[in-house]
């Protein structure tokens, strides 16, 4: 059985060799798609699997790249590192969690430079997660602060008019 890593950074499978061949024919996977082979936990590009090699050459030449939304390979530069979002989260929302997001953003670049694509994808997911947590906490605490301020305002208003 095979598992494949999609452009959306999700794992698909396990699927049979026949299903994998079907995906290659449909252009959902190409020679650069990362695949986990049978009895293996290592991600390798599809062109290192000789059992499907007969399908790859024509597909790779006739389909220049996977259509958006399709399962397929991802050029390294397309893995988002959420760097600017992390910096915005740091200075606008929540400093410590934003710093965590920037660290993961930097790891995306570091791991890509080392060729560790699954590691870069993991760091990318973590960067996105910490951005959202920092953003969520910023919104939450500021909403509570706004409620408190409104309460104070209403109190002052009722005091002023001796309601």
């Amino acid at each position: 059985m095979y598992k494949i890593l999609g452009t959306d950074q999700k794992e698909y499978g396990p699927v049979s060799a026949d299903q994998l061949r079907q995906w290659i024919r449909e252009g959902r996977a190409n020679s650069q798609t990362l695949v986990q082979g049978p009895n293996s936990t290592e991600w390798k590009p599809l062109n290192s699997f000789p059992e499907v090699g007969d399908l790859l050459a024509p597909v790779a030449s006739s389909v220049p790249g996977p259509a958006p939304g399709y399962v397929g390979s991802q050029p390294a530069a397309d893995i988002p590192n959420y760097l600017w979002q992390s910096i915005v989260a740091t200075v606008c929302c929540c400093l410590p969690l934003g710093i965590a997001a920037i660290v993961y953003a930097g790891q995306v670049n570091t791991k890509l430079a080392l060729g560790d694509i699954p590691g870069a994808m993991r760091a990318s997911r973590n960067a996105r997660m910490w951005c959202w947590i920092a953003f969520g906490i910023g919104i939450l605490v500021n909403s509570l602060y706004a409620l408190y301020f409104l309460g104070r305002f209403a109190q002052g208003f009722s005091d002023a008019f001796q309601l």
Partner: protein
């Protein structure tokens, strides 16, 4: 013909521009130092210290009124970072933020944290960094 993806992208940019314009109008007429309804910095609320972004709204207000000196005094970080990163972007033209050499990302993190530390030091030149 505009596809769904392009349509969403355009909508997103329209939303960003409208929000930025609305925010600028509000910042122009209501000084953040005088009105309490602006978002608060959690780090400043929790610790009393200034984070690297503290003073940004006051700086934006000053900037909208053309007072560069006051804006720089409230938060000098964007005045230093924007020209440098902008220039680097024009010179190196990276394909995406992901293709920037890792050391530059770490340097950026170092500058942000370092600025955050320096502006909280209670000694003479650094106190000017504290809004």
């Amino acid at each position: 013909m505009i596809s769904g993806f392009q349509g969403r992208r355009i909508l997103w940019w329209v939303a960003v521009i409208v929000a930025a314009a609305a925010g600028s109008v509000m910042l122009y007429f209501f000084a953040p130092a005088e009105y309490p309804f602006y978002p608060k910095c959690l780090f400043h609320l929790a610790t009393g210290l200034s984070c690297p972004g503290c003073g940004s709204l006051r700086a934006a207000h000053s900037l909208l009124h053309g007072d560069f000196a006051a804006a720089f005094r409230f938060n000098p970080l964007p005045f230093v970072l924007f020209p440098i990163t902008g220039l680097a972007w024009i010179i190196y033209r990276p394909a995406s933020l992901t293709s920037i050499p890792p050391k530059w990302v770490w340097a950026l993190l170092g500058v942000i944290i370092g600025f955050g530390v320096l502006r909280n030091l209670p000694v003479a030149p650094f106190t000017y960094l504290n809004p």
